[in-house]
Amino acid sequence: MRAFVFTDAKLERHAGRFVWLSMNTEETSAGPFLEKFPVEGWPTLFVIDPRTEKVALKWPGAVTVPQFERLLDDGERAIKGASKGLDAQITALDLAYGQGKHEEAARLGAKLAAAAPKDWPGRPRAVQMWLLALYELKQWEPCAKTAVQEREKLPRAAAYVDVVNIGLGCASELPKDAPGRAALIAPLEKAAKELLAKRDIPIAVDDYSGLYGGMVDLLEERGDADGARATAEAWASYLEGEATKTTSPEARTVFDPHRMTAYLKLKQPERALSMLQASEQALPDDFNPPARLAVVYREMGKLDEALAATERALARARGPRKLRILSTRATILEKKGDVKAARKALDDALAFAATLPKSQQYEGSINSVKKQRDELKEPAPATPPAKTP
């Protein structure tokens, strides 16, 4: 958003409509805000009423410029509270979702999607909110079914891609042996393949990237190694092409984690090296390039370079992402056979987590570090040399 949307000159005309706030969750100063307004992912966009300090609209994920402008209109209208009819319904849906009332949001989303004419401009977003609420509720089957049914009624625009993406995610979460799982995946997979083949809908690159990633996972799960490899190669090629179009290191590094994941899927970590080295040189204060280099060097078996990269990353990181860097460091140390040092890295991660504000002590990350610590294996004791008589 910061590199591709908030830099668009078309948005200048909205400058006076809002007070604009940027919250970096790697800064401990974001703690009190996050306690009041928790997020489940990045980015998350909010419109907040300053009089009540309540959420009028919450949107998880990146948006394009036209989607962003629509969010501004809907957020402003939600605060004015003067709308009627379908506008009032989408305002109620936004309020419910924004305040974490996901069951109510799913009910309101279903009701609004049924009531709104197919060409009502707010309908695609209402369907997205409905699916997002079902996703939050982990109602995988209703979510996937809704995506299959609603997809065909949507115009071929950004919301269509999101609906396919969310639906595929929900269907994939169903137990592998769930009856009907394959039948739900099939139409969404077909739609995803068609979207990736044409890529004719103007959406953020990372949305197409997410679709590629979901497809690779799906093909791997099915045991289709050739299909997964071909899709991962197409994914990497697409991202490389998009990276060449960018005009600044900040914009180009947005693609780094996606490209790295595609290269790792292809078992070609070395393809990420020059990209990450250039990112580290261009953005010397950013912990991400060396943190990613550590993973790439580890996968290449260059463990000393990997450890050195974690040291550079740790020197630059301040917030919750430090846990992930220490976790990577532990995997490298374990590979080197130094289990004691690996355990210390994980202990350091847990000790650091305890110093963070409560709202930045992410349960998932902490549990993952604890699990990694529990599973550390002591190296097998060396076999004593056979005694010679």
């Binding site: 908030f6 830099t7 969750t25 909010f46 501004l72 197409a234 992402r321």
Partner: protein, 59 residues
Amino acid sequence: MKTLPCSALLLAASLSTAAWAAPEAPREVLPFLENDYAGAVAQAKAKGVPIFVDVWAPW
């Protein structure tokens, strides 16, 4: 599925540092306050406008 020709792949894979260091990053056109929720609330109350928040993390 569409794939780029090999030459495009090679070009992307061999991006030089010089290419990265080139132009200045485009600036944000909206006047964002950084990590200052209390300041944003005070300003928004004074101006009578809502607050828009982008919650992000370096990725």
